[in-house]
Amino acid sequence: MDFQTPETTLANVPTVLRADGSADPATDPGLDAQLLRELMRAMVRTRIVDERLVLLQRQGRIGFHIGSLGEEATILGSIAALRPQDWIFPCYREFSALLWRGLPLGTYLDNMFGNEDDPVRGRQMPDHWTARALRIGSVSSPIGTQITQAVGFAMAARHKAEDVVTMAFFGDGATSSNDFHTGLNFAGVYRAPTVFLCRNNGWAISVPTAKQTASTSFADKGVAYGVRGVQCDGNDVLAVWRTVRDAVSRAAAGEGPQLVECITYRLSGHSTSDDPKVYRADDEVTAWRRADPIARLRRHLELKGLWTEDEEKAWAASCEAELKAAIEGAEKKAPPALSSMFDDVFAERPWHLEEQCAALLAGPRAPRGH
């Protein structure tokens, strides 16, 4: 088996957090204590939620989860580096963006259960949420499609003279998609203020990056589009924040689109449907566990006196409690109303949907849990 260790993969990539937990003074973005602690709390909470959702799926209480285990620094560092007015076009692993921007955990759980209070009305699989009020897009499954949309959205904002940057999240596999190509090309031509955030987590389900492309890096793909591309250590939340903040500033300043490759690793299976043992070596996973982004920030904060074991325990306990309540709340809610199935296909229901809705309501109900 080929091997992608953090050491080889990250050899030439800028890092802030050093092995001893200190920050390289040459690159330290100098975040204030509050932000550092918020990042730590968010990462811990994210992992707790992730692990619990996997469990819920195993218990058959939710249908599916696709998480961010190991990628917390990449996601949260990027989100935190955005300005409040900036918009996020997510892939499917970024539920922590919802929480960072203030979505009540219960609402996220409503989506995981697809219940009547799910903002997307139980229409999509778990982890396919939408949060317009938080300036976050709508998750869909087809890989890459959000990339071109983020470009158009940024162009539209500029058309309205709004100071907005859009950030499109996607994985290493998505760089092979049509929309990656077209999105970066259009953005290059129109100098759209978009940050393309590539979460290079080493794998696209069972396909390793070496089989995804022969380019030397994902950041290098920017060359094809006249788009500045940079790499950073995606397990180093300070490096992520620094790199992304710089990219956002440049995009906002009219320097054109920016491609950021965060090198990280998917510690879990692709989703709850996956069994990664079939295709990758345990040793690879073990090696990356040593580069755990949470552990790295923890070491740094402890060194700075900003974090203690007790504090983490207390925080984790409160997260667990909140989560438990959210799960209980979401689980007992009813499914969406039958007739809601025919809403939102169009702004108004045409005759054929009225007829179909009436037919459904008049007919017998489906067996439960068929």
Binding site: R121, S140, T148, Q149, A156, N185, F186
Partner: protein
């Protein structure tokens, strides 16, 4: 009232709406300085600037993806696909994204945009400049589909489409583009989506057509009349949502229906119309519903007039159906 051909009427509609609403933007391959290969967007870049009418790189998926992004923001983009044969690189964005955005986001996001694209044969375009892919979009829940047959309708329907809050596929029959001029009012007027029009009345056979084939249906109806067969000819104008009431009302009188379209027969829109008429007017049917359509082959070049369901092929169907 000014006389315009369909190209001019469409151009006029775009101008009217772009003047009214700064959120309307036009994008596509060659829509800028060239004004589109059929010149529908001629002069728009001059009048409204490059930010509101701009050329794109050669990537239909990008045109749609970017237009969707703009619509999500709140603009009203009117992307052009140069030929509807070239819409397929954008098919994923259209069926997976555009059609489903409102639904999948619980109504939080909407994508009001109009994809304008020339459709159909009759210009010696062969395989790739002649196709009529409407049924491949009607099948996908969440899309409206429009196809005008004349300059007046073209302008009024395009204005309605741009103002509609749902995504619209706006198919422009390229054989009609410059075929005839008609009175087209200046300024603003709309024709509501979802309303068909009976363009000839008769009690013997209902004929449903749209776009360029409407003229063939009318020509055949005229010839049929010389044999004593009077046809109700319906111009659908909006293909989806379908004006089923108009069709059913007619079939209830005639008991007979012939549907005409250029697309291949199998799984074409004609099959849906026939199936719906079965559902809604079965006991009125006095003859089997007939489809006169393109054959189930790719669109040919030299023999295109033998491929298209022109009047000479519609007439026998009318006669047979009437005499059944």
């Amino acid at each position: 009232m000014p006389q315009m051909n369909m190209v001019q009427a469409l151009n006029d509609a775009l101008r009217v709406e772009m003047r009214r609403n700064r959120d309307v933007v036009v994008l596509g391959e060659d829509v800028g300085k060239l004004g589109g290969v059929f010149r529908v967007t001629q002069g728009l870049q001059d009048e409204f600037g490059e930010s509101r009418c701009f050329d794109t790189p050669l990537a239909e998926g990008g045109i749609l993806g970017v237009a969707i992004g703009m619509a999500l923001y709140g603009l009203r983009p009117v992307p052009e696909i140069q030929f509807s044969d070239f819409i397929f690189p954008a098919y994923d964005q259209i069926v997976s994204e555009l059609a489903k955005y409102r639904y999948r986001s619980g109504g939080e996001y909407t994508c009001p945009l109009v994809v304008r694209t020339p459709v159909g044969g009759g210009i010696r375009g062969g395989h790739y400049h002649s196709q009529s892919p409407e049924s491949q979009f009607i099948h996908v829940a969440g899309l409206k589909v429009v196809c005008p047959s004349n300059p007046y309708d073209a302008k009024g329907l395009l204005l309605s489409s741009i103002r509609d809050d749902d995504p619209v596929l706006f198919f422009e029959p390229k054989r009609v583009y410059r075929a005839a001029r008609a009175d087209v009012p200046e300024g603003d007027y709309t024709i509501p989506l979802g309303e068909a029009k009976v363009v000839r009345e008769g009690q013997h056979v209902t004929v449903v057509a749209w776009g360029a084939m409407l003229y063939e249906a009318l020509a055949a109806a005229e010839q049929a009349a010389t044999q004593g067969i009077e046809c109700d000819v319906i111009d659908l104008r909006t293909l989806w949502p379908l004006d089923i009431d108009c069709i059913v009302a007619s079939v209830e009188r005639t008991g007979r229906i012939v549907v005409v379209h250029e697309a291949p027969k199998s799984c074409g829109f004609g099959s849906e119309i026939v199936a719906l008429v079965n559902e809604k007017a079965f006991l009125h049917l006095e003859a089997p519903p007939v489809r006169v359509t393109g054959w189930d082959t790719p669109f040919p070049y030299t023999l295109e007039n033998e491929y298209l369901p022109l009047a000479h092929r519609i007439l026998p169907a009318l006669v047979e159906t009437a005499r059944y």
